[in-house]
Structure formats: C-alpha cells, structure tokens
Symmetry: C2
Subunit: 234 residues, 2 copies
C-alpha cells in the first residue's frame, strides 16, 4: 500500500479478515461443471459454498488459494487465476471480510474424484446449481464470464480435458463454455491450424462405433504459441 499525502499511517485504519474463494470448473460428458462444498460449520451449516479459506499470516493470497485447492484435491501447480475482490461492507454477516476470488480448471481424474468425495464436495452442472452462501453466486457468474473470455485467448481445453482427448471432445468443451454449437469442419480446421496437437495412433471408442483419434497437446509448441499471443476464436 502507499502511505502518501492522503494517508498518514496505518494506525488510523481498520484491519480486515482476508479470504480466498475458488471457483473450480470441471468438464465431463459434454457438460461444464462447478465444484461446490457443503458447509459443515455454523452459521449456514449444510449450505452450499465455494471452496475458500481465510488467508494466513505467513502466506500471500495466491499461496492461500493454492493451499485450499491442494487440501481438497491433492493437486499442486494447477492453473489458478486471481479474478477480483469482493468487499461489500456487509457481504459477510459474521465479520468484515474481503474475499479474493480465483478460478481454476481441473481435469476429471479418479484420484481427484475420490478426494473430492471425501470432502463433501459435489459437481453441479450449471443449470442445476443450488443457491450458494454469501455472494458466491456473483463470484460464479463473474468467473464464468472470465472463463469465456479466457477461452478465447488460450486453449482452455488442455486444462479441463484428460491428457488424451478427441477433437469432438474439445469441440464439445468449447460449445459448453460458449453456450453455442459450432461447425465441426471449421472447428477442426481452426484447432489443427495452431499446430499444437499431436495425433496419436489410438482411438477413443467411448462415444462412437467408428472411434475418434486421440490427440495430446504438444507442450513446447503450445508455450511458444501462448508467448506469441493468439486468439482462439471458434
């Protein structure tokens, strides 16, 4: 912070609780999903909430967000993006508390699913989402908007899909995010034109009899591309 002519020091001001809340997106079976938790402390026990925590003395905001995500999912170094602060004076009836939202994209994965179960968490599709505590509904809405924007600037799919995925799966993800349908020929053309996909010999037969080729993403080429900047408008 700045101590300048407007501010003569710290002692005149209040201190606040500081929290992080995480909007965790997942994608499975053609549906974009949100991970929420059943709160197990009073007040509001039993209500659905985003994953969050108060920030501790010895950590910064990003570390706090990573900590809660790790505690829940066992994952480290996942894509986790700070979004914005929520600071309405009366947003939390318990105490004056500012929260900084983060969003994260995680892959469906057996280990993670088990961990999630153990924590009383649940994946909801967006059209079945229950009401969340405090201003968490706003946080989700804002994060969804941010995800849509983000999806244009980087190939989001690589965080949300399994390590190997088919092009129809990738398309279905983008359709879920944008809430539209896309032309499969144009989509395929566009996504392949980036030259960041490695075709494998194997096929996925889970959704068709013919089977669809599996691709994995070429990390080096992807990083190059992101560095150059690009616009993945589909």
């Amino acid at each position: 912070m700045s101590i300048n002519n407007q501010v003569s020091g710290y002692s005149h001001s209040e201190k606040f609780y500081l929290a992080v809340d995480c909007i965790i997106f997942g994608f499975d079976k053609g549906k974009l999903k949100l991970l929420v938790f059943k709160r197990d402390v009073d007040p509001l026990r039993g209500e659905w909430s985003l994953l969050g925590s108060l920030v501790k003395e010895n950590e910064n905001v990003g570390e706090a967000a990573n900590r809660v995500l790790h505690q829940l999912t066992g994952l480290k170094n996942v894509f986790l993006k700070e979004l914005r602060s929520y600071s309405e004076v009366d947003r939390d009836p318990g105490a004056r508390c500012i929260s900084i939202s983060h969003y994260s994209l995680i892959r469906f994965d057996e280990d993670v699913e088990q961990m999630i179960e153990e924590h009383g968490a649940h994946w909801f599709e967006f059209d079945e989402l229950p009401a969340l505590i405090l201003d968490h509904d706003d946080m989700v809405k804002d994060a969804l908007t941010a995800l849509k924007n983000e999806a244009r600037r980087r190939p989001i799919g690589f965080e949300l899909l399994p390590e190997q995925f088919t092009i129809p799966q990738l398309q279905s993800l983008y359709e879920a995010i944008y809430g539209t349908t896309l032309d499969s020929r144009n989509f395929r053309k566009k996504v392949l034109s980036f030259n960041v996909l490695q075709k494998s010999e194997d096929k996925d037969f889970s959704t068709s009899k013919k089977g669809a080729f599996l691709y994995r993403f070429d990390e080096d080429k992807y990083n190059e591309l992101v560095a150059k900047g690009f616009d993945f408008v589909v």
Copy 2:
C-alpha cells in the same frame, strides 16, 4: 469468504491492513504518462509512490479507490478498473498489508492539472519514470500490460483524450500504448468504420499548418457498440 470444512471460524486467523493503489494514466503531446506522488510521511518520505490509501471500515474496495482519485483530481465517475491484489508477506516493511491495484485513465484538463500540482504529484513519461516505493514498479508494469489488452476491447482514447480530438491524435495515442507505428490510412478507415465519431466543423492547428478536423465521440453509439462487444485491433 467461505467458512467450510477447511476453516472453522474467523477467530483463528489474522487480520490485515487493506489498501488500494491507483495507476493513473494520462496522455499529452504524443506521450503516455503516469501520475506519481512524492510521499510526505515517514518512512520513505520524499520517495515517489502511486496514489493510494488504506480502505476504511465503512467502504468497499472500489469506493476507496474512487475516494482517493476524487480527493486528488476532483473527478468523479472516472473509468477505474480493479486489477489484482499484491500480497507478498514482506511487501510492506511497515505492516502486513495487502493492496488492490486499480488503473485509471484521465484527461489532461486545466482544473485537474492545478489540483494535481497542489498534491505534489507529477506526470512522468514511461522512459523517465523514477523508481517507486514498495512493489509499485510491479504494479505499473502489470497495469501497462492490462492497458494494452484493454485498448483492444474498448476505445480507450475517449477517456484519455480531450473532449474534442483529431484522428492523428487518436492514432498517436494508440501508437504510444502499443509501442508501434500504424498506417494512417488503415487507422482512419478502421476507427471511422465504428461510426462512433462525430466530425466537427472546427480544426485543430496545434500540430500542423493545414489543421486537422476535430471529432467528438457519440456517446450513445459508443455505448451501443461496447454493449455489442467489439475488438479494436489496429
């Protein structure tokens, strides 16, 4: 914030000072500028700093940012965008303090310039910028990146230029932001194609003998355009 299974309540956690800092951009004579302040309290008295303040008990973060900006410039309802938090444990040697940066674009204007003078503030061009206190240099760097991105999504010029401006001035602004040169024919074509500029009868003779026509921006059409969404890539 969330009180869920990871967190059993408020009382176990620390409270923090919360600040806002403002990165204030201006544009004059073909140069993009940053407004900084000479700090007049200890410690670090006399050093250059962004405009900032601690957040008060009865206001939210956005209100705090508007308050300090208003105190300095007399302006209300200026474009002010929250950027991100800065929360390194040791970022402020005085006390554990989290700051939320905002950036703002303001027009050069006599009244404002006078107000600025009175507050010991100074406009610096970016290549003459002095070192700033704490992590304010990082804040500026991040804000500049954000400004470049923002400039693609909305006609930034309308916040930074005087009410009437010429197309070469607008071009020069975009060149300053992007750090490139642009083709004047293509720029003019593009900017006029948005149909948000009203041509005036008057000319500005300050930079050429022939004079350049002054335009003002059609607020209704501009708002329409922003609502529809557009990409001002030049």
